[in-house]
Amino acid sequence: MSSATPASDSVLVVDDLVRRFGGLTAVSVEHLEVRRHTITALIGPNGAGKTTLFNVLTGFDRPDGGRWIFDGTDVSGWPAHRIARQGMVRTFQLTKALAGMTVLDNMLLGAPRQHGEQMLLAPLRFRWRAEERAVHERALALLDDFGLLAKQHDFAATLSGGQRKLLEMARALMADPQLVMLDEPMAGVNPALVQSLLDHVRKVRDAGRTIVFVEHDMDVVLSISDWVVCLAEGKVIAEGPPSEVVSNQDVIEAYLGHRRARLA
C-alpha cells in the first residue's frame, strides 16, 4: 500500500482534502499519494468526485480544507497557473484545443517561460527569435511523435475528437511537466485511436514523467495503469495494483457491480 512507500518516491501527497458544494461533500480524501514514474488511474462511478478532485489539485477549484504537497512544495490553494508552472499540468474532459488557432500555435503556447511572453520584450523580436526557433523545433518534434505533423498549419477546429485529445496531450508536454493529469483522455475517441493514445501515455511515463488519469473504461485502466485509486462519494474506497482493485468487493459494489449487473 502507499503508506509503505517512502515519501520521496511520491510526487504528490494529499492530506485531508475536502471540497463541499453546499450540503454535498464532493471530495473528502484523507490521504492519497501518487508515486513517481507511474501511471495512476482514478476510477469511480459518476459523481464520485474525480473531476472535482482534479480541479482542486490543479488550482481550478478551491478546497474547503486540506493540503497537498507537489514535489516537495506545498501548493495548497495556489492559483492554477502557478501550479502548472510548478510542473503539474492538466488536460480537460471536454478538450480545450484552441479552435481558432493553428495546431502549431496551440503547441507553441505550451512552452513555459518564454521571454517573448513578457509585454516589454514582445515587440523586440530580436530578443526572443532564437528562443522561438527552439520552441518551434520542439513543437514539431512532438507533433511528429503524435502523428499531427501534417496538420500543423490547420486550425485546431478541423481536428477530430481523438486528434484534439492527442493535441491537448502534446501541448501539455510542451510545458515540460513532471506530473500530467489527464481528465478522461479516451472519452469520445474513435476506438481505432485509443491504442495509439495508450501508447503515447506509456511513452510519457517511460520518458520519466508521472501520469494521473481519470477513466471509465476498465479495459483501458487494466491495460496501462500501474496503480488504481477508486473514489466513491468523494472518498478513496480502495487503491492498489489494477488486478487487486478490480477484485475488491467495495469497488465492485460501488462501481463494477453496478455495471456488471447492468450488462448481465
Binding site: 492559483p79 479552435a99 515587440p123 523580436r125 477546429a157 501539455a172
Partner: protein
C-alpha cells in the same frame, strides 16, 4: 446633383481628424476585443480620462503640454487598472457592464458643477493646446488635391494623429505577432486552457486592457487638442459604439481593420450627409417630399446601421477579417 462634391466630402472626412481619432480608439478596442476578447464598452471613458487629464494638467497645474499628455496617459492607465482589478477575474460580461457604467459615471462627474473649478463643468476647458499649434511646421496655406483640401492647421493635427495611428498599429502588430500575442489570442479562445499551461491570464488581460485604454486615451487627447476645447458632451457613449462600428466594418483581429473601418465609417457618414442634403434640395428621386433637411442628420446613421447589419449577415468577419477564424472560434 454634384456627385464629385459628394465624393470629395466623403473622402475629406475619411482622411480627416474624426476618422483618425476613431481609428486610434478602434485600434485600442481591437487589441482588447479583437485579439483578447475583452468587452470594453467604455472606450469613451478612456478618451475622457486622457483628454481631461491633459487639459487639467495644462490649465490648473500649468504644466507644459508634453508633460500634460503624459498625465493624460497616466489617467488612462489608472482607469484601466481600476476597472480591471475587480472585473478581469470574473466572466467577460462583468467587464462590459463595469466599463460602460464607469464611462458614463466619469462623463457625469466631469459635467457636475461641484467640480466646476477643475473640469469647467458643462462649460469645459478651453485653449490648453496653444503649444501644439505654435509649433506647427507647416507654412500658412491650404493643402490638398482637387476639392479635398485642409487648412495648414487642420493638416498638422491630421498628420500627427494619423502618425499616432500608424505608430499604435505597428506596436500592436509587433505585440500580437509575438509569444505575448499568442497568449492573448489564446485567452480569447479559452482562458482555462491558457491557465492550465501556466500563464497568468489575469495579468495578460490587464495588460491588454491598459494598452488598449492608453491608445484610447491618446485618441481622446488628439480629439480635444484639435478642438482646443474639452467638454463632457465630447464623450457620450456613442463614441464607443461608433468605434466598435468602425472596427466591425473593417474587421476585428486584423491590424488594418480599425483603420480601414474608421475611414469607411466617416466616408459613409459625411458622404451620405452630403448626398442626402443635395438630394433633398434638388428633389432627387422625390426625396424632398418624404423628408426635410433636418432629418438628414439622423438618417445617415440609419444608413450606416443598415450597412453594418448587412455586413454582419453577409460578411461577419468585416472587410479585412478572416472568415475561417471568425467561424471556427464560435
Amino acid at each position: 446633383m454634384n456627385w464629385s462634391g459628394i465624393l470629395s466630402d466623403g473622402i475629406r472626412a475619411g482622411l480627416g481628424i474624426n476618422a483618425a481619432v476613431y481609428a486610434l480608439a478602434a485600434v485600442g478596442l481591437n487589441l482588447q476585443y479583437g485579439y483578447t476578447g475583452l468587452w470594453n464598452f467604455g472606450q469613451a471613458g478612456f478618451l475622457l480620462a486622457g483628454a481631461y487629464g491633459t487639459a487639467i494638467a495644462v490649465n490648473d497645474w500649468g504644466l507644459w503640454l508634453g508633460w500634460a499628455v503624459l498625465v493624460g496617459i497616466l489617467a488612462a492607465i489608472l482607469l484601466g487598472l481600476l476597472l480591471g482589478f475587480p472585473t478581469l477575474r470574473l466572466r467577460a460580461d462583468y467587464l462590459a457592464i463595469v466599463t460602460i457604467s464607469a464611462a458614463e459615471i466619469l462623463r457625469i462627474v466631469v459635467n457636475s458643477t461641484s467640480v466646476q473649478s477643475v473640469t469647467g463643468g458643462p462649460q469645459g476647458i478651453k485653449g490648453f493646446a496653444n503649444w501644439f499649434f505654435d509649433h506647427n511646421p507647416i507654412p500658412v496655406g491650404r493643402y490638398g488635391f482637387g476639392s479635398i483640401t485642409y487648412t495648414y492647421r487642420d493638416l498638422w493635427v491630421v498628420l500627427v494623429t494619423w502618425g499616432l495611428v500608424a505608430a499604435a498599429s505597428v506596436l500592436i502588430a509587433l505585440l500580437v505577432h509575438s509569444p505575448w500575442g499568442r497568449i492573448v489570442r489564446a485567452i480569447r479562445e479559452d482562458e482555462d486552457a491558457v491557465r492550465s499551461l501556466g500563464k497568468n491570464v489575469f495579468s495578460y488581460k490587464m495588460q491588454s486592457l491598459v494598452i488598449g485604454g492608453v491608445i484610447g486615451g491618446i485618441a481622446g487627447i488628439m480629439l480635444v487638442i484639435d478642438r482646443q476645447f474639452v467638454e463632457p458632451a465630447n464623450f457620450e457613449s456613442a463614441i464607443t459604439f461608433f468605434a466598435y462600428a468602425a472596427l466591425i466594418l473593417g474587421g476585428t483581429g486584423r491590424i488594418m481593420g480599425p483603420i480601414v473601418g474608421a475611414m469607411l465609417f466617416w466616408f459613409l457618414i459625411e458622404g451620405s450627409q452630403s448626398f442626402l442634403n443635395q438630394a433633398v434640395s434638388h428633389d432627387f428621386l422625390g426625396l424632398s417630399h418624404v423628408m426635410s433637411p433636418t432629418q438628414v442628420g439622423p438618417l445617415r446613421f440609419v444608413l450606416v446601421g443598415l450597412l453594418i447589419m448587412l455586413l454582419v449577415v453577409f460578411r461577419p468577419q468585416g472587410l479585412l477579417g478572416s472568415r475561417e477564424e471568425v467561424m471556427l472560434s464560435e
